[in-house]
């Protein structure tokens, strides 16, 4: 088990390194000039040259990548002397447009993204899995058909469209919710919930559809298993048969996609945050794209990728914990 863990950790680290290199390569090889982006719209040639030197853009790509990796591991400084800009560990770059280290920007935005992702995840997991289970148990019924139609609709909804419709209905027309703002949970729980409700519903409408469909088909498959027949033949109550013998195996694939989805969302719900104007990591990315702030785009990409890769690791570990057959191999 410990060996398995170490091996998985090594693979994770390798994947992160590859992603790091790939991201860096994109920005290095592509024609966009990072110095131009850092300098902003009105930029004198002298200032451009200074920034270029400060960023180390005049050095070889390998040196630059080395510097970047070094910055992540131990922090670094841009430029030298009195004009040097400090970027402490873990340095994911420095945003010259906002005069802040990227890491600081990311961590300050993270709570909002976590609030959105976790709340939505709880909602869609509850709704999606429950709907899928009921659909599978009453296959072919009116409920099943209605739920699956709704699920397919949810899967097909563009989230920015859902978001706008919700905001138009609930805020503008019915006036039951305020415009979402970033309220910390610890300061004003009610305000926090009021701000988060629409992002949660928006995301949950999409993801519940996905989860209902997956749960239903997984449940149908596991309900047809021989061991479910054995469980019935033992005289177990139907609730126990369904929960213990059919649902448990059906949840395994759901663990996988849940890990991936949650990981991706923690790295920023780009569209949802943009539409509702909530300052999460996703909004940071969207703003950085709009203002061509390359160090931030690079940083967010890496940051989000790390979440996905770590979610992958978590899923694998969860599998090992949940499935005795995997445990035996590991």
């Amino acid at each position: 088990m410990i060996l398995y863990l170490l091996r998985r950790l090594a693979v994770t680290a390798a994947v992160l390194l590859v992603i790091c290199a790939a991201t860096f390569a994109i920005f290095y090889l592509m024609p966009a000039d990072p110095a131009q982006g850092a300098c902003g719209k009105a930029c004198s040639p002298e200032r451009l040259a200074t920034i270029r030197a400060t960023l180390g853009l005049d050095r070889s790509p390998f040196t630059q990548f080395g510097d970047y990796l070094g910055g992540i591991l131990s922090g670094r400084a841009f430029g030298s002397g009195a004009a040097a800009v400090q970027c402490p560990f873990p340095c994911l770059g420095f945003s010259f447009q906002t005069n802040q280290p990227v890491w600081e920007l990311l961590t300050s935005r993270l709570p909002v993204s976590i609030s959105i992702a976790v709340g939505a995840a709880v909602l869609w997991l509850a709704v999606g899995v429950a709907a899928g289970v009921v659909s599978a148990l009453r296959r072919g019924s009116l409920w099943d058909r209605a739920a699956m139609t709704a699920a397919l609709g949810g899967v097909s909804l563009p989230i920015y469209f859902t978001a706008l419709v919700l905001q138009y209905l609930l805020v503008v027309q019915l006036n039951v919710l305020p415009y979402p703002t970033a309220v910390p949970l610890t300061e004003d729980p009610i305000g926090w919930a009021q701000s988060m409700v629409m992002p949660w519903i928006t995301l949950a409408m999409l993801y519940s559809g996905v989860y209902a469909r997956v749960t239903r088909s997984e449940m149908l498959e596991s309900l047809g298993r021989n061991y479910v027949r054995t469980a019935r033949a033992k005289g177990l109550a139907e609730v126990t048969v369904v929960r213990r013998h059919a649902l448990r195996p059906a949840l395994m694939p759901i663990v996988t996609i849940f890990g991936m989805d949650l990981g991706a969302l923690l790295g920023g719900a780009l569209i949802t945050e943009s539409v509702f104007g909530l300052p999460g990591v996703g909004k940071l990315a969207a703003d950085a794209i709009a203002s061509a702030d390359q160090p931030v785009i690079l940083g967010v990409t890496l940051f989000a990728a790390s979440f996905v890769v770590l979610a992958n690791l978590a899923v694998d570990l969860a599998y090992a914990a949940l499935d005795p057959r995997v445990r035996a191999v590991g």
């Binding site: 298993r225 021989n226 061991y227 027949r229 054995t230 469980a231 019935r232 033949a233 033992k234 005289g235 177990l236 109550a237 139907e238 126990t240 213990r244 013998h245 448990r248 195996p249 949940l322 499935d323 005795p324 057959r325 035996a328």
Partner: protein, 271 residues
């Protein structure tokens, strides 16, 4: 004393297939009834119909009288209390019939607790005792192992332990040895024979193998296309088969003492 009486059992599938077409069965307490036939003759469907475990697209009619009660008229609750407790079942493929996510002792204890007021620990002790009884070595330690950690024969022993932990009046064994290696088959049959002697449980033994019936059963029913074509004491049916079909089934059993045929006969020639 008659334990099980089946009269005119008919099972239809929504696809239009009639799997069982008017079957009569009689089984006395403590006896072993062999139900023999080719695959597709309706044996397994019959056993599922007895427990009320037919798939959704199947409909059963007729009489199933078990210990004085008419099973077709019982509601799900009453039927559930009967399953496992009074009528237990062992299936063909023990790997797919055991849940891979739970230790074997848990799955046995679960059956026990479905019908007895017993705590986790007490039920676990029952499970370990049953594992010992069906011949699992180091039962105490192996109890916490998962199904995939056992061999095929050991898994079938677990299934039998699970079926017998509630001391049922009737054990339905549906092809209990088919998925196993030949030497293991013999061991499992020995185990069933021994357990029957000790507990006095009646057994309905479903198989396509006349050899298995010969070693264990008292009575035999030969099924074909959902009907019983021949029935009687094992000795009579084996020595004086009335139907060509039965003769065909018997001829399919290779004998070590008989002359070697040029070619094994097939059923289509003889029936």
């Amino acid at each position: 004393m008659t334990l099980l009486t089946v009269r005119n059992l008919v099972v239809d599938f929504s696809s239009g297939v009639r799997a069982v077409a008017g079957l009569d069965l009689d089984l006395a307490a403590g006896q072993v009834l062999g139900v023999v036939g080719e695959s597709g003759s309706g044996k397994s469907v019959t056993s599922l119909a007895l427990l009320g475990l037919l798939p959704r697209d199947a409909r059963a009619s007729g009489e199933i009288r078990f210990d004085g009660r008419e099973l077709t008229r019982l509601d799900q609750r009453a039927l559930r209390r009967l399953r496992g407790n009074r009528i237990a079942m062992v299936f063909q493929d023990p790997l797919s019939c055991l849940n891979p996510y739970y230790p074997v002792a848990f799955q046995i204890a679960e059956a026990y607790r479905a019908h007895h007021r017993a705590g986790r620990k007490a039920a676990h002790r029952v499970a370990v005792r049953m594992l010992e009884r069906v011949g699992i070595p180091e039962a105490e330690r192996r109890a916490r192992s998962y199904p995939h950690e056992f061999s095929g024969g050991m898994r079938q022993r677990v299934m039998i332990a699970m079926a017998l932990c509630l001391e049922p009046d009737l054990l339905i064994a549906d092809e209990p040895t088919t998925a196993l290696d030949v030497t293991v088959q013999a061991q499992i049959l020995d185990l069933l024979r021994e357990l029957r002697r000790e507990t006095g449980t009646a057994i309905m033994l479903i198989t396509h193998d006349m050899g298995v019936v010969a070693g264990l059963a008292d009575q035999v029913v030969v099924m074909r296309d959902g009907r019983a074509v021949e029935r009687g004491a094992v000795r009579d049916v084996f020595h004086r088969p009335q139907q060509p079909y039965t003769r065909g089934l018997l001829a399919c059993v290779p004998r070590i003492d008989g002359p070697l045929p040029h070619r094994l006969p097939t059923l289509s020639e003889t029936a």
